[in-house]
Each structure stands twice: as structure tokens, then as C-alpha cells.
Symmetry: C2
Subunit: 329 residues, 2 copies
């Protein structure tokens, strides 16, 4: 079968869905999984958490850089992180794909495998339980994640002066990986080209992986909630920018210690997409495993975020996707 014969348009919806469900159905844990009008999920704790986020071909990814597996993994990971950031356990994903007619089927089955494996690795007990497939000029992956709360939701707005500011997960790695892609894997005209991993050092490979296939500390979310976190959010747009959001929601100032941010504090502060968990804890409690202290919560001052006591003046994040030039690659 040639690649052309394997396009979504040539195969038709029923065949494409069947191939995708062959990957996803065995992992289903729901009372009713894919196949009926809707999925039926257990919600024994009585409190459900739900979020949605879309990856769009062009502004959010390039097919020259990301495999289908990468895209499936990342689209799961970023939404699982939002559930974890509420202190909840993810239990189900719904995946709405819009795909051009000429999309090769293996891209979609690879995506299904990435979604399945990210759930298994990052959030055991969670699986794809439903979705939708539509034809569109633009490839997009909209993932809805649903989770259960065992206790109370941890919001952005609960940080109190005197709390310890802590982080679980990476800061700056995914941004460093994105910089590698834009600096080293584009042709003379600026178009993305395939990644040659053999040209990269071991740390660079880790940064690339953090960008293309992030591994946010999903399990730390419920741990933080049980451990007394007063506020929590996932860091998707950059530590300094997201910290300013928590500070504003909580009406406090957050003072971050640059020395706690590793070798490259500037990138750690500005870089997004690691989906680390930023949380505040009362000072009398021991930090839960997986969290490290990166600063302190102060009464609200003139600026939302300080770094070593000085107003943060860095930029919100080096993000070539955001100032999107309409290229897709």
C-alpha cells in the first residue's frame, strides 16, 4: 500500500477510526469507553476536574520536528499537567482531531500510541475514553482531560505571605530544546528540517526531549494537595509569567531565588512548556517529595514577582511559535 492509499481521505472515516481505536481501546478503563454517544466515567469522589487545550499545526508544532508519537504524547502531557495542578488524579482523556484529507494514517496511529503511552507513563489509570475525528485544512489536536479530586481543589489564589514557594519538575529545559530546534534545524530559508540527534550533546538531547515529549510530574499534583499546598498551577508560559499570575490571583508578591533555578536562571525564568508544578506551602510543613524550595511568598508589594528581592525585568519567554509567522513546516 502506498502512502497515498493510506491517506485519511482515501481510507474514509470508518477505517481511520477503526485503526485508531485498535490502539486506544485496550487501554480503556471507563464504564463505557469509545464507541457510544459519550463516555461514562466513574466519579466516586463526587468532584470532577476538567480542562481542554489545543495543539495547532504551525503555532504549536512542526511536522518536520515532531513525530506523530511526540504530538500524541505532548498533547496528553500538557493537559494531564492542568489536572495535576488542581491537585487531582487524571482519569480520562477525550481527543478531538481535525486532520487534512491527505494526512497519512500512520501519523494518526502513532499519535494514538503517544497518547496511550503518555497516560500509562505519567498518569496510570488514565486513558483515552472518547473523541472525535473531523476533516479540516489544519491539523489540530484538542485534548480534554478529566480527573477526580480526593480532597479540595488547589487553586492559584490561595498563596499566603510567609508560605514557601516550591517547584516540582523542570524549568527552562523545554525552552532550551525549542531554541535548539529554531537555531540548528532550519534550512537557509528558515524552514524546519529533520532533527539529526547525532549532532547533539547528551544534555541537548534531554532538552530536545523536554520540548517534544515533556514528562511533567503529574503524580506530584495530588501529593502536593495532600501535603497542604495553599496554591498550585502548572508552568506552561514561563516561570516568571506564571508566577505573576499566581501572585495576582493570590494578591501576594512572589520572591524567587535565582540560585535555586540551576545553571541558567534566565532561561528557567522565561522559558515555558515544561509544565512543572509551582506551588506554595505553609512554612511549618515539610515540602512533599519531589518539590524543591525556589522562593518565598511575601505580602503584596508593587510588583508581582521579584528575583532575589529585585523586580523581575526579563521577558515573558522566548517563544518563536507565539509570534507566529504563518509557517507550518
Amino acid at each position: 500500500m502506498t502512502n497515498q492509499d493510506q491517506s485519511v481521505g482515501a481510507l474514509g472515516e470508518a477505517a481511520v477510526l477503526a485503526a485508531i481505536l485498535e490502539v486506544l481501546r485496550p487501554a480503556s478503563r471507563a464504564a463505557v469507553g469509545p464507541g457510544d454517544d459519550a463516555a461514562v466515567l466513574d466519579a466516586a469522589t463526587g468532584r470532577v476536574v476538567a480542562t481542554v487545550d489545543t495543539l495547532v499545526h504551525g503555532p504549536d508544532f512542526r511536522l518536520a520536528w515532531s513525530t506523530g508519537y511526540d504530538l500524541g504524547w505532548k498533547s496528553a502531557a500538557v493537559n494531564l499537567a492542568d489536572i495535576a495542578a488542581m491537585g487531582a488524579r487524571p482519569t480520562a482523556l477525550l481527543v478531538a482531531l481535525t486532520v487534512p484529507d491527505d494526512t497519512p494514517l500512520p501519523l494518526l496511529t502513532d499519535m494514538a500510541e503517544g497518547l496511550r503511552d503518555a497516560c500509562a507513563a505519567l498518569a496510570p489509570g488514565c486513558a483515552v475514553e472518547g473523541g472525535d475525528l473531523a476533516v479540516s485544512p489544519t491539523l489540530t489536536i484538542a485534548v480534554t482531560a478529566i480527573g477526580l479530586l480526593d480532597g479540595t481543589a488547589v487553586l492559584r489564589s490561595g498563596a499566603r505571605p510567609g508560605d514557601v514557594l516550591a517547584l516540582a519538575g523542570d524549568a527552562g529545559c523545554a525552552a532550551a530544546g525549542l531554541r535548539i530546534l529554531f537555531d540548528r534545524f532550519r534550512d537557509a530559508a528558515g524552514n524546519p528540517i529533520a532533527v539529526d540527534a547525532s549532532s547533539l550533546s547528551v544534555p541537548e538531547r534531554a532538552q530536545l526531549a523536554a520540548q517534544l515529549r515533556p514528562e511533567p510530574p503529574i503524580g506530584r499534583g495530588p501529593v502536593a494537595a495532600r501535603g497542604g499546598a495553599t496554591a498550585m498551577m502548572d508552568v506552561s508560559d514561563g516561570l516568571a509569567l506564571d508566577a505573576s499570575r499566581m501572585a495576582t490571583a493570590s494578591r501576594v508578591t512572589l520572591d524567587i531565588a535565582a540560585a535555586a533555578l540551576g545553571d541558567d536562571p534566565a532561561t528557567a525564568l522565561s522559558g515555558g512548556e515544561d509544565h512543572a508544578l509551582l506551588a506554595a506551602f505553609p512554612p511549618e510543613l515539610a515540602l512533599p517529595r519531589g518539590f524543591r524550595r525556589i522562593g518565598v511568598v511575601l505580602p503584596r508589594g508593587e510588583t508581582a514577582v521579584l528575583v532575589d528581592g529585585t523586580p523581575y525585568a526579563g521577558r515573558g519567554g522566548w517563544d518563536p511559535y507565539r509570534e507566529w509567522d504563518a509557517a507550518q513546516g
Copy 2:
């Protein structure tokens, strides 16, 4: 302010989100609505139902024919119907929008009003509780609907020989409306043009409304579940085609009486998008209010669907969007 100044690209994400949330936030009923990492929903019954469906500019709608309000309304209605078809009460929507940079803001705030009003009219107690906004070359609206089950989910697979086949809602109206659009509101080159409602008869206006702003009988879903329905689904792709899916899932044959389908049984059988509820009930039970008998469930025969005892030979649906020609309009 000119239309250009009001484009999504010129205004920026924060301003666009603020305008949308101004419409949606007052209707929120969730413990935590829009604004944090995820929404927190009450799930007191312990059983949650979830579904997602995407409307794509081009294959699913044309901006010359649909207002933003229509699009918001329809994207809510079609997903509410999937929740109802499980026998559940819709409680929350999450809306993931992907929009071109030059999209005028009023299109999005109109869409938010349509989403809000469809919830209020069709599923009181349900509201938009979260979402995502992304830039994309293609306008898409992916709506996740979440609902609660008071009893057991009603699946497609439970119809039994001897059951009465019943329908709540319209059959063929939305398809007739779509035919009006394609036949009468395109220019010589085939491009969609604005609808002149004054050229339409009263019944034609109702058909057009059924296509652009459908009103599926959402409340009938839980009523059918309490009333003993053995199987249920919403009719999105045409009565005959969806009936064949129920027949196959239940391993039965469904015999539909053409006389029960009104003036134009052919369109009722082939036409989709009304999102009526098709259900089977044990013969000894009275049909719940809102349902009318349209046939009977037989032991599985050679064909999945009969009409007046004869194998259904009509087509699956007159659907110019489906054999999509890449036009957007």
C-alpha cells in the same frame, strides 16, 4: 473602532479572552469555573458522562450562512444531544476555539452568547465552565460536554426484539434547511451568499432554523432513561444510518413505519443533523412524553433496517458538506 482594530490578532489573547468571559462567567455554576488550570464540577451522583465534537469552517459551516451566535448555539446543541442520548443531564461545557488572526472579536462574543443561550434554553443548569483559545489558519469550535447520570447509562446496544422504536424531536428538518441553503443561497459560481429570509415561506424558515440553530429535545434524554429505555442514541447522520448503527450494536433489526415520519419520509430517513433522540422501549411500558412510536424492534434479520418491512435502499443522507470541496465561504 474599525473592524480591523477588533481583530483577534490586533487585540491580543488577554483582551479577547476577557471579552468572551464577560459573556460566559455570569452563567457559570461550577465550584470553579473559567480562570484556573481546570474547572471543578460537582459529580454527586458518582457517574459522569463526557463527549466531544468539533465544528470546522468549511466542511461543517459557512460564515455566509451562519452567524457567530448560530455557531455557538449549534456547537452546544449537538454535544448536549450526545449527553442526553446516554440518559444523562448536561452540567458543563468546555469550549476549545481555534481562530484565524483576522477573526473579528464580535464573531467570538456572538459565539459565546450562542453557547450561553443554548445551554440556558436546552439544558438549564449547564454552562460553559472552561475552554481554550488558540490561533490557527482554520476556525474550529471543539465542544466537550459533561453530564451526570442519575441512573444507568442507556447505550446503543440494549434494544431487544419486541421493543417499540420511538423518536423524540424532528427528522429531516435540518436536512431540508441545508438543501435550501445549497439550492437557493449560492451565487453563480457556487459560493454561499447571505440568506434573505424574506424570500422563504414559514415552513422553510423553520427548516433553516433547524439547520442553523437546532433545538434537540435534551430534557427527553433523562426522561427516557427513567422511562425504561433499553437503547438510545442521537440522530446526527440520518435516521436510517443511525438506526442501522443501533441495530448492529444491539444485534437486532429495526423496522421503521414510513407513515410515522410525516410528509416527507425520504428526507426524514436520510437527513441528519436534527439530533433527535432515537430510543427503544419495552412494549409493556407507556412511551414517555415527547416520544412517538416510529417502528418496532425485530430479531436480527438479513438487513439492519427495514422500512415498512422492506430493506432500506435509500442513501445515507444528502450531505454536500461531507463530500467537501474545500470551499469555506
